[in-house]
Amino acid sequence: MIGLMQTLRLALTALVRNKSRSLLTMLGVVIGVAAVIVTVAIGTGAKSSVADQINGLGSNLVVVLPGSVQTAGARSGSGGASTLTVADGLAIAKLPGVASVSPSVNVRSQIVAGGQNWQTTATGVAPSYTFVRTWTTSSGRFFTQAETQDAAKVAVLGQTVVQQLFGGTDPVGRTVLVKGVPFTVIGTMAAKGQSGTGQDQDDTVLIPYTSALQRLTGGTTIGTLMVSATDAAHIEGVQSEITALLEQRHGIVAGQPDDFSVRNLADIASAASATASILGLLLAAVAAVSLIVGGIGIMNIMLVSVTERTREIGLRVALGARSAAILRQFLIEAVVLSTGGGAIGVVLGVAGAASIALFAHWPASVPLTAVLLALAFSAAVGVFFGYWPARKAAALDPIRALRFE
C-alpha cells in the first residue's frame, strides 16, 4: 500500500512538472474564490455598517409615530394624523422601564444666516434628545430644561448646516433665522453621517420643542416621540405599556384601530437582515457557478493529462500500483489543483477586499468561516470533477497503456 503523503508528493511532482498549465487550470477556481471572498467581504462590511447606523440612531430606542386616521372611510397613511401631544410624552416618561422621552417636532423651513440660506428641517426636541439619540455636541452646548420651559430662541446646528451656512467656521453666538424667527446658535452637533435609510442626519437644526410649537407651528401636536428604554431587555415591555397607555389616553376601545404606532429598531434591523440574506443567496449562486466552471476546467485538463500520461499509468501498473493507487493519485492531483486555486483565490480576494476598503473607504472584513468554506468548497470541487478522469486512469488496460504512443 502507498501512503497518503507519498501520493500527495507524487501529485505535487506531476503538477510542478507542468507549472504553467497547472496555474492556468487553477485560474477558474482562483477567480471564482477571489470574487466570492471580495463580495463576502463587502457584504459583511455593508452589514456591519448598517448595524452601526442602526445603533447610531439611539440606545434602546422606541419610536412612537402618529397613526392613520379614518375620515369618511378614507384612511390616511401612517403619520397622516397629528395625534400625539406633549402631554402623551409626559405620561410616557412616567412609565417604568422608560429612561427618557424626547418629542420631535419637524418644521421644514428655509434657514437664513447672513447672506446664506439653506432649506432644511428644524426639529423641536427636548434636552433628553442627546441621551435618546446618543449624540453629543462638538462645540458649544445643548439647550437646557430651563430654556425649554421658556421656549428660548436657541438653536444647535448639525454639521451639514454649519457647512452650508457658515462654511465650516464655528457658528456659536451667531444668529440664524428660522421661518423669519431669529434663533441664537449655542452649539453644534458632532457629525453622525447617513442614517440607515440614507438620510443625512447632520442636515438639521435642533431647537427646543416648546419654541417649535409656540413660535413656528403654533399647535400642541408633535410629530414623533422618541423613547429610550432603560435596558434592551425592556424594549418589548415598554412598547406594550406605551400602547396600553396611549389607547387609554386616546380613548380607543378594543377592536378599533390605534391612531398611533409603536416601533423599535429590531423591526428596522430585521428588514436590513432580510436584505442581507437575499444578498447572501445571490453570492452563493455566484460562487456555485464560478466554482462549477472552474471545476469543469479542472476535469478537462485532468482528462487531457490522463491521455497524455497513458504510458506512465501503464508503467505504474506494471510496477505494482493497484488501481486504487492510480485513482488516488489522479484524484489528489485534481484536489491539489482546486484547493491550490482556492488558496490563491483567498489570498487575492483578501488583498482585493483590503484595497477596496482602502480606496473606497468601505468597511470590508473577511470572516474566517468564509475562507474555510471557500477552501472546503474548492476541495469538494476537485473531488467531484476529478473523480471521473481518475477513474478513467485507474481503469486503463495496462497492456494497451504501455503500448500507447
Binding site: M1, I2, G3, Q6, L10, T13, R17, R311, E312, G314, L315, R316, V317, A318, L319, G320, A321, R322, S323, A324, A325, P398, I399, L402
Partner: protein, 235 residues
C-alpha cells in the same frame, strides 16, 4: 526447488465481434526454474507477447493453469496481482519507460513506492541497484540527459531493485544500437550469473536470443522448440 514459472495448457482467446475468435495461445506448457536465463522468440503474431503479458500478470489466460513461485496466479484478484508485481516481478521495456523529468534514482525507487518501502530504505536500495548497473554517478541525472543505453540500464536497475523472482524483458534492445545492445545483454548475463537473477527475455532477433542459455520459440500460439545451448559471450 519450486519453479518460478509453471504454466500448463495455457490458452488465450480474444473474442471478436464478427464471430471468428483470435486464438493467441493454444495450450502452452513451460517451466522456468530459478536462476534460468530464457529467451522467448518468435515472429510477431506468434503469441510470445501475449505469453509475456500473462506471465507478468498484466493479462489473464482463458484456460489452463499458472503457478508463479508456487502461487496459483489465476485465482488471485487484481489487487493481489498488483501486490505480487510490486514485490516479485521486474519489468524492462523496449522504450525504457522512464518517467520524464524524474531523476534516475527516483525512477529506480518507483517499484518500492508501491511496495510500501520507507523512503530511506528506498533510496539506499535504489543507489545499490544503480551501482549494480554501473550508473551510480548518474543517479541525479534526468532521463533526457542520458544515452539510450544508459536509460535502459536505469530501467534494468529499476527491475532488480525489489529483488524480484523474475525479470521480464520485452525487446529490451529493440531501440538500441549494436554496441549498446551488447552492453545491455552483457548486463543481463552478469545479473543472471552473479546474482542468480531469473530472466525471461522476449525478442524476435536471433542474435539477441543467442545471449540466453535456453531458447524457446513460439509459432502460431504454440511452443515449437525449446533448446539449451551455449550462450553467446559478448566481445
Amino acid at each position: 526447488m519450486t519453479p518460478v514459472v509453471e504454466v500448463r495448457s495455457l490458452t488465450k482467446i480474444y473474442p471478436l465481434d464478427g464471430g471468428d475468435d483470435v486464438v493467441a495461445l493454444r495450450g502452452v506448457d513451460l517451466t522456468i526454474d530459478p536462476g534460468e536465463f530464457v529467451a522467448v522468440m518468435g515472429p510477431s503474431g506468434s503469441g510470445k507477447s501475449t505469453f509475456m503479458h500473462i506471465v507478468g500478470f498484466l493479462d489473464r489466460a482463458t484456460s489452463g493453469s499458472y503457478r508463479f513461485a508456487g502461487t496459483d496466479v489465476l485465482g488471485l484478484d487484481k489487487d493481489a496481482l498488483a501486490d505480487l508485481r510490486s514485490r516479485s516481478l521486474g519489468f524492462v521495456f523496449q522504450a525504457y519507460n522512464l518517467l520524464a523529468r524524474t531523476t534516475a534514482v527516483e525512477n529506480v525507487e518507483l517499484p518500492m513506492v508501491y511496495a510500501g518501502v520507507p523512503a530511506a530504505e528506498r533510496h539506499r536500495a535504489a543507489m545499490e541497484a544503480l551501482d549494480a548497473v554501473g550508473l551510480a554517478k548518474f543517479a541525479h541525472h534526468l532521463p533526457n540527459q542520458l544515452s539510450g543505453g544508459q536509460q535502459q540500464r536505469v530501467a534494468i536497475a529499476r527491475s532488480i531493485v525489489n529483488q524480484p523472482h523474475l525479470i521480464l524483458a520485452d525487446e529490451p534492445t529493440g531501440a538500441l544500437d549494436t554496441a549498446s545492445s551488447e552492453d545491455v545483454m552483457a548486463l543481463f548475463q552478469r545479473l543472471n550469473r552473479e546474482r542468480g537473477m531469473t530472466v525471461m527475455l522476449v525478442t524476435h532477433e536471433p542474435d539477441v536470443a543467442a545471449h540466453a542459455r535456453r531458447r524457446v520459440s513460439f509459432r502460431d500460439g504454440s511452443i515449437v522448440s525449446d533448446t539449451l545451448a551455449a550462450e553467446k559471450v559478448p566481445a
